[in-house]
Symmetry: C2
Subunit: 215 residues, 2 copies
DNA sequence: GTCTATAGCTTGATAGAC
DNA sequence: GTCTATCAAGCTATAGAC
């Protein structure tokens, strides 16, 4: 059942088990007993290594946030000066996509966990804003260069919409699978991303382009 | 603190308190003690009227789902035969907007609760699919009329993206408020909706129009 | 339909031996 | 750093008087 690789440290086993279970059941839906059991370690070790449960949760979030943000900042910095908005959106979204699809099951759980947190007021400040507002601001500044005629407000709203589609996608709830009668699969993130970029780029242009929606 | 209107029945007081607290802390983040205390009734009455906690949660969801879906179906049925995709999107999204903005604090909590559930695998089948797939299918069928050249798959994906932006908006987490330095306000749903319609319509046209993304 | 009281269990956290 | 044992508090759910 659990992840018992003897290669892994106790800390990493606890973090991996937490990541997977938090993503499936949420912060309050999992007990420390279940986490440590899934990790194959004693209950007391969770508190010893991470302190209170909330700090363990934040440690799970922080473990991958830096690596993710470094990849996104790198992609944004690598853009040509005249990059179109579709390329800016791709630079922001592709690193997370790549890690979720090809980074192993840990990154997959991480993406699903972030997607749930994104719509929860409880974790907005302590997780979303504190961990991701830096790269978000960088994305917005870079988007302003690609859409110089837009009111700033519209770019912020477009980013808000982008975030919604991105989080809905990373959540992988499989609702669209049954709704579409099997035509779509939530797990096929590569295909979804290929559809999402032109969808979002058209939205950005409509809202933030030369003829954008007023003020 | 709680809602103690003597006009309300015990059932409604429990449902109102549950709605508000579930929206803020999630299913596992609230105890029946807290709910009944907030409602101003005795603990045992929650179980007496609604059975197990999970059934109370589902009762909260179902209480408003029928009214919401009736309004959405009505708006979709009222569309002209040649309605453009922006009008179809408006028909689907506006009823929920109207209730969240002008339906009172109960509808506001309800919208925030649904937004959190939407990205949670735990409630996908038992809530989202069972309560909302009917109207979702109706929206998709109506959208096919407005975008007759599209592959069905692309319309499903576009709906998936629409749902993400809609749920991110109804969540009202206020992250965009601080990120934008006060330029945007999560609570200003009327303004957001006015931006969201052209944003989404452009996305639908790009993905599902005559030159839509292949297959 | 409402109240009191409580059963039976799980929770997060820690003390102390090794 | 790891283990066993446990505490105090909270939890859902129910039994039984009114």
């Amino acid at each position: 059942m659990g992840v018992h690789d003897s290669e892994l440290s106790t800390q990493d086993r606890i973090l991996n088990a937490s990541e997977s279970l938090f993503a499936e059941f949420g912060f309050d839906g999992v007990s420390l007993r279940r986490i440590t059991q899934h990790a194959g370690v004693e209950l007391a070790l969770a508190n010893y290594h991470f302190g209170p449960k909330k700090d363990l949760f934040l440690a799970v979030i922080r473990r991958r946030a830096d690596e993710l943000n470094r990849a996104r900042v790198g992609a944004l910095d690598a853009l040509e000066p005249d990059a179109e908005v579709a390329e800016v959106i791709d630079a922001f979204t592709r690193p997370f996509l790549e890690k979720s699809v090809r980074g192993g099951s840990g990154w997959k759980s991480y993406a699903r966990l972030i997607a749930q947190i994104a719509n929860s007021p409880r974790w907005t400040e302590v997780v979303m804003a504190s961990q991701f507002d830096g790269v978000a601001t960088k994305f917005i500044e870079r988007t302003k260069l690609a859409l110089p005629h837009s009111a700033d407000r519209n770019i912020y709203w477009a980013f808000h919409f982008l975030l919604g589609t991105m989080m809905m996608t990373f959540a992988e709830t499989e609702r669209i699978d049954s709704l579409s009668g099997g035509r779509c699969r939530s797990s096929d993130l590569d295909t979804i991303h290929a559809k999402m970029i032109p969808f979002l780029a058209a939205g950005f242009l409509a809202l933030c382009g030369p003829d954008g929606v007023g003020g």
